[in-house]
Homo-oligomer: 570 residues x 2
C-alpha cells in the first residue's frame, strides 16, 4: 500500500513547527503553535465540535483493532448526562503481539519521520479541539473554557514538547560515524559504526480522570516518537478524549504507511482492574501513570520489567510571609483555590500564615484578617453564579464531594463551601472551595509520621478537591521547616510564596532547591501557581514524592529507547 | 579560606579539553586526551609510579574524613603479595551528614565549575597513571600493560565522557529565561524564570573487583559533576585504586574551595556487607553498581529511594556463519578469549558454529576444524610464556579458578586450560582459556527455563572466567533464535558475528536491534569485541538484562539531578 502521506509532505507541513519547538525548549521563552481562544478555530467550529461530540453519544466507538472480544463503557458526565459510549474491550493475548508487529518498520523510519507523524496526529487533534473540549468537559467536569484550553491547546503543547525532546535526544548521537585510531607507524585501526535508536517495547499509558489529554499526551507522544507502540488504558470515567486520540493516531499512522496497531486502546469492564494485569505483562516495557500514590507506588515496585514514570499525589504549600501587593496576592490566591474546584494536582492546599500576622502595603494584617480577607476574595470572585460555574466546573466524582463535606469536621471553617446551580446542567455538583483554619504550632507536626500522630494533623495528608488549610505558624523558621517536611515526606507539584524579605525569599528558594520543588514567587497578576506552560515551565520536578518524572525533560525521554551500535571493520 | 585553584585557572587549563570531549560525544570519532603508552608519561614515571605504589604497602591510608571509627583492609594481590594497606572504616551516621554539608556550595558553583573541578581530578589521576596501574594490577590481577591502559587512560576517558554528558545535560536548559505571553490588547503576562540543576543527594558507588576504576569512574564523575556528593564503597579485594581516587578528589575539591567531604570512602570489615546497609539509607539517592546479577537485582528492587544504575552479568555470544578472512577471524577470536583470562564482562562465552561447517576464504571448514583451528590459534597466541603472562594476567579470585576446573566436566574439551608460571610472581594463578564443545540442537535449549532443564545446558548460564563453549548449531535460524533468547533472558554486554551473507548479517542486526545488544561484525584485525572506546562506543545498551544503563549516554546522567525552576513576576 502506497502511503498517502509521504515523508516529504510531512516534512513540508511540520518540520518548521518541530524546529520552533526545538528552539523553544532551549530558550524556554513563550511559544505555542496551538491557539488558546475558541474563536481562533473558525466561525463554524463551535457548532461542528458540539455536533461531533453529540453524535458520539449513545454509540459504539468502532476501532478496527485486533483482539476485540466485547464492548464496554459507562461514562457519566460530572455534569449529569450519561455518555453511553461503548468501546472495544481487548484481549491482550491477541492485541499485544499485534501491536509489536509494526515496530520494526516504525524503528526504521527514524527519529525525524516519527516526529513528523506525531506532529500530524497533533495537528489533526488540534483541528478538532472543540470536539475534544466537550469530551474533556464531560469526563473531567472541567468548565468548558478550561476543558478547551487545558484539554486542547495546552495538552497539544505538552505532546509536542515531548516529541521535540524525543527527537533531540535520539539525534544527539549521529546515525553513523567513522572511527580511526592512530597506531604510531602502523596503519590506524578503522571502524565504521552505525547507531540506531531502538525502542524498548510496548508502552502503557494509564490515564487519569481529571486531565486525560494534558497528563496523557506527554507519555504517549514521548513513547511513540521514540519508536514504541503505545497501549492507551484510560481512566474508566474519562475514556472518550483518549479514545478519540487513539482513533486519530491510528488513522494518521495508516495514512503514513505504518501499522495502525502501533497505537491501541484498552478499556476495562467495571471492576476489572486491567491496569495491574497489563502493567505486569512482559511485553510492557514503559509505563506512564497519573493517579493515586498507592497505585503509583505499586507500579514503581512491581512493574520491574518496565521504565515507570509516575505522577502521584502531593501536598502543595503556599508560604505567606509578607507582600507589597496585598490585594493582588489575595485575588491571585483566590483564583488558584477556585479554578476547577481545587481539583488540580497543582492547587495549593496549605497556606502557611504567621500567627502574628504579616506586613503588607495595606498595613499590618493579623492572621485572622488575612484569612478573612482571602475568604472574602474567594467569595467575591465566585459571587456571580455564571462566573462561578465558568471557573469551578463540576466535582469530578462523589469522593471529592464526600471529602469536601467531611472538611467541616477538620477545624474552624473560615470559608464554607457553597452550592452553585448550573443553569444548563442541573445535575452537576458545583461547589465553591472551603478554607479551614488549622494550628501550625511546631509540636502539632514535629512528631507526625513518627508517633502515629499524623492522622491528627489533617493538613499533612492530601485532601484532593476544594479544601485548603490556613495554617497559623509561630515563626518563619517553623514555616520553612514545615514546608521542607511536607515536600520531603508528602511531595509537592508546586510551592508558592509571598515575601518582601530577601532573606526569607532566599531561604524559601534554598528549601525548594534542596527538596526539588518548583517555586512560584509573589504571583499577584494573571499567572497562577497551579498553571505551567509547556516549552518553558517544568511540571513537577521528579525529585520529590509527588512524581518521579518532570514534564518534560531529557530524563523523561532518554530511557524510552536505547542506542544500539553496530560496528564493522572499515 | 581562599581557593588555591580559581575558576579562571581551572577554565584556562581544562575548558578546551571539555569542549573537545563535547565535540567527541557528538561526532563519535576517535578522540582521547589520555595517552595509552606508558612511555608517554616521561622517563622517570615508571620508577616513580612503582615506588609510590610500593610506599603505600603496609601502611595506613590516611584520609582526613569525619566519622572514622577504626581501620580495616586485607587486600592480597592476585599475583601473591599481601598489600597490607589499612583504610579508615566509617560510621555512616557521622559521615553521611558531613558529606551533605558541602552540597549547597557545590550546587551553587554551577555545571561548568563542577565539570572543570572534575577535569582537574582526572588530570591529577592521569599524572599518576603508573602508580594507579600497579594498584589496579595488584587488585584485579590484570597484566601490567592492561592495568595501565584499561585502569588508566581508558578509565579516565570514561570518567571524562561522563563529565561531558553531565555538563551537556545540565546546560540544555538556560540558567534564566524571560517569558512573555501575549494577551491581545491587554499587557502581556511576563515572568522571569531561573533554572538550577539541583542534585538528588548522596551517590553511592559500589565498586567491582576486576575493573575498579574503568567501571567506577563513569558513575563517580557523572554524580559529582551533577552536584551530588559521592560515597565510594570499593570491592573489598580492590580498594586501593579507588582509595587513591578518593584522596585525589578530596585534595582537588579542597584546593578549589569546596568541602572535601563531597567525596569519601567507605571500606568494609570482612563479612560486614555494608553495601546493603548503605544502599538502604535514605540519604543515598543514587547508586552505581557493577557486579553479580543477584545483588544488582536486589539493589534494583530494594533501594527504591535511589536511582540505581547496574552492570550485572550476561552471556556474550559470537555467531560464526562464514568469513572471508578465516585466519583473521581465528586470531581475533583467540585474542578476545585470552585477554585478561576471559574475566571481562565483554568476553565472548558462546561461539555458535554450524554443525555442518562454514564457508571461508580458505575453503569449507567443518565444525571440528573450526574448533580445532581456534584452539590452535589460542595455543599459538599463548605459546610463549612471557607473551601469555602479558596477555592473561592472573585469575582474580579462587572462584574463577574453581569454575575453570569444573569446566572439564561440562563437555568435551576442545582446548584444555594450561598453567603458566609467572617469573616475577610465582604465586600468581595464571591460566590459559579452555574451550568446551557443546550441542546446540534446538531441543537442548528450547525448553530451557521452562521445565527446569536450564541447569543441563551449561552454556545458558554465565561462566565467568576463561571458559568458552563451541556450540554446534543445526542451522542459522537456530543460531539466531538462540542468540535472541540468550540476550533476552541472560543479557549480553556484547554480541559478535562473522558472516559474508548480507541476509544473515541483516538478520543478526535485526536480533540485536530488537533485543538491544551492541554488535561487532566481522572483526579480524586489531579491534576486539570485548573492547569499547569512550566517546565513540557505548558499553552495554541498558536494554537487556546484563545492565540497566549504558556507558555513557544522556539517560546515564539526566536523572542524577533535577531542574528546579523559580519563577517571579517580571
Amino acid at each position: 500500500m502506497a502511503a498517502q502521506l509521504s515523508p516529504q509532505q510531512l516534512s513540508d507541513k511540520h518540520r518548521p513547527t518541530l524546529d520552533q519547538a526545538l528552539d523553544a525548549i532551549r530558550s524556554r521563552a513563550y511559544w505555542s503553535p496551538h491557539p488558546e481562544h475558541p474563536k481562533a478555530y473558525g466561525e463554524s467550529a463551535p457548532a461542528e465540535g458540539l455536533a461531533a461530540f453529540q453524535a458520539l453519544r449513545g454509540t459504539r466507538f468502532e476501532l478496527d483493532q485486533p483482539g476485540t472480544d466485547g464492548w464496554t463503557g459507562g461514562e457519566v458526565s460530572p455534569y449529569g448526562p450519561a455518555l453511553a459510549v461503548e468501546y472495544p474491550h481487548a484481549d491482550p493475548d491477541v492485541l499485544l503481539p499485534a501491536m509489536r508487529a509494526g515496530m520494526g518498520a516504525w524503528r526504521e523510519a527514524g527519529p525525524e519521520t516519527r516526529a513528523l507523524v506525531c506532529l500530524e496526529i497533533l495537528a489533526r487533534i488540534g483541528a478538532r479541539t472543540h470536539e475534544f473540549a466537550h469530551a474533556v468537559m464531560h469526563t473531567s467536569g472541567q468548565a468548558f473554557l478550561m476543558a478547551f484550553q487545558a484539554g486542547g491547546p495546552h495538552a497539544q503543547d505538552r505532546g509536542l514538547e515531548a516529541v521535540a525532546y524525543a527527537y533531540a535526544e535520539q539525534t544527539r548521537t549521529p546515525a553513523a560515524a567513522d572511527w580511526s585510531k592512530p597506531q604510531g607507524k602502523r596503519d590506524p585501526l578503522e571502524l565504521r559504526k552505525s547507531f540506531t535508536a531502538a525502542p524498548r517495547g510496548i508502552s502503557l499509558l494509564i490515564g487519569c480522570n481529571t486531565f486525560p489529554t494534558w497528563n496523557g499526551y506527554p507519555g504517549l507522544f514521548a513513547s511513540l516518537a521514540t519508536g514504541n507502540p503505545v497501549l492507551v488504558k484510560p481512566h474508566p470515567r474519562a475514556v472518550l478524549p483518549l479514545a478519540l486520540t487513539v482513533r486519530v493516531a491510528r488513522e494518521v499512522l495508516a495514512e503514513a504507511g505504518f501499522d495502525p496497531n502501533l497505537v491501541a486502546l484498552a478499556v476495562e469492564r467495571p471492576g476489572e482492574g486491567i491496569a495491574k494485569t497489563l502493567a505486569s505483562r512482559p511485553e510492557i516495557r514503559i509505563i506512564d501513570y497519573t493517579g493515586s500514590t498507592a497505585f503509583g507506588d505499586w507500579l514503581e515496585s512491581h512493574a520491574r520489567q518496565a521504565q515507570v514514570y509516575t505522577e502521584k499525589a502531593g501536598v502543595n504549600t503556599v508560604l505567606v510571609d509578607s507582600t507589597d501587593d496585598y490585594k493582588g496576592m489575595l485575588s491571585n490566591l483566590a483564583f488558584s483555590l477556585s479554578l476547577y474546584s481545587g481539583q488540580m494536582c497543582t492547587t495549593p492546599q496549605n497556606l502557611l500564615i504567621p500567627r502574628d500576622g504579616i506586613t503588607t502595603d495595606a498595613g499590618e494584617k493579623s492572621y485572622d484578617e488575612v484569612v478573612a480577607d482571602l475568604a472574602a476574595s474567594v467569595s467575591g470572585l465566585l459571587g456571580d453564579d455564571a462566573r462561578a460555574n465558568a471557573l469551578l466546573g463540576a466535582l469530578v466524582n462523589p469522593e471529592v464531594k464526600a471529602r469536601l463535606e467531611a472538611a467541616a469536621s477538620l477545624g474552624d471553617i473560615a470559608l464554607a463551601s457553597r452550592e452553585i446551580v448550573h443553569p444548563e446542567f442541573p445535575d452537576a455538583v458545583v461547589r465553591t472551595p472551603a478554607i479551614v483554619k488549622a494550628d501550625g504550632a511546631r509540636k502539632s507536626w514535629e512528631k507526625a509520621g513518627e508517633g502515629g500522630t499524623e492522622a491528627e494533623v489533617p493538613y499533612l495528608a492530601e485532601c484532593f478537591g476544594p479544601v485548603s488549610f490556613a495554617v497559623a505558624m509561630d515563626s518563619t523558621d517553623d514555616a520553612l521547616e514545615l514546608l521542607r517536611r511536607t515536600v520531603r515526606e508528602k511531595g509537592a507539584m508546586t510551592v508558592g510564596a509571598y515575601t518582601t524579605s530577601p532573606e526569607t525569599e532566599r531561604a524559601i528558594e534554598e528549601v525548594c532547591l534542596e527538596e526539588s520543588a518548583q517555586l512560584s514567587l509573589n504571583l499577584t497578576g494573571g499567572v497562577y501557581v497551579n498553571q505551567t506552560a509547556a516549552f518553558s515551565d517544568f511540571h513537577g520536578s521528579g525529585g520529590n514524592p509527588a512524581a518521579n518524572a518532570a514534564l518534560c525533560d531529557a530524563a523523561f525521554v532518554a530511557n524510552r529507547f536505547r542506542m544500539v551500535e553496530v560496528r564493522r571493520q572499515a
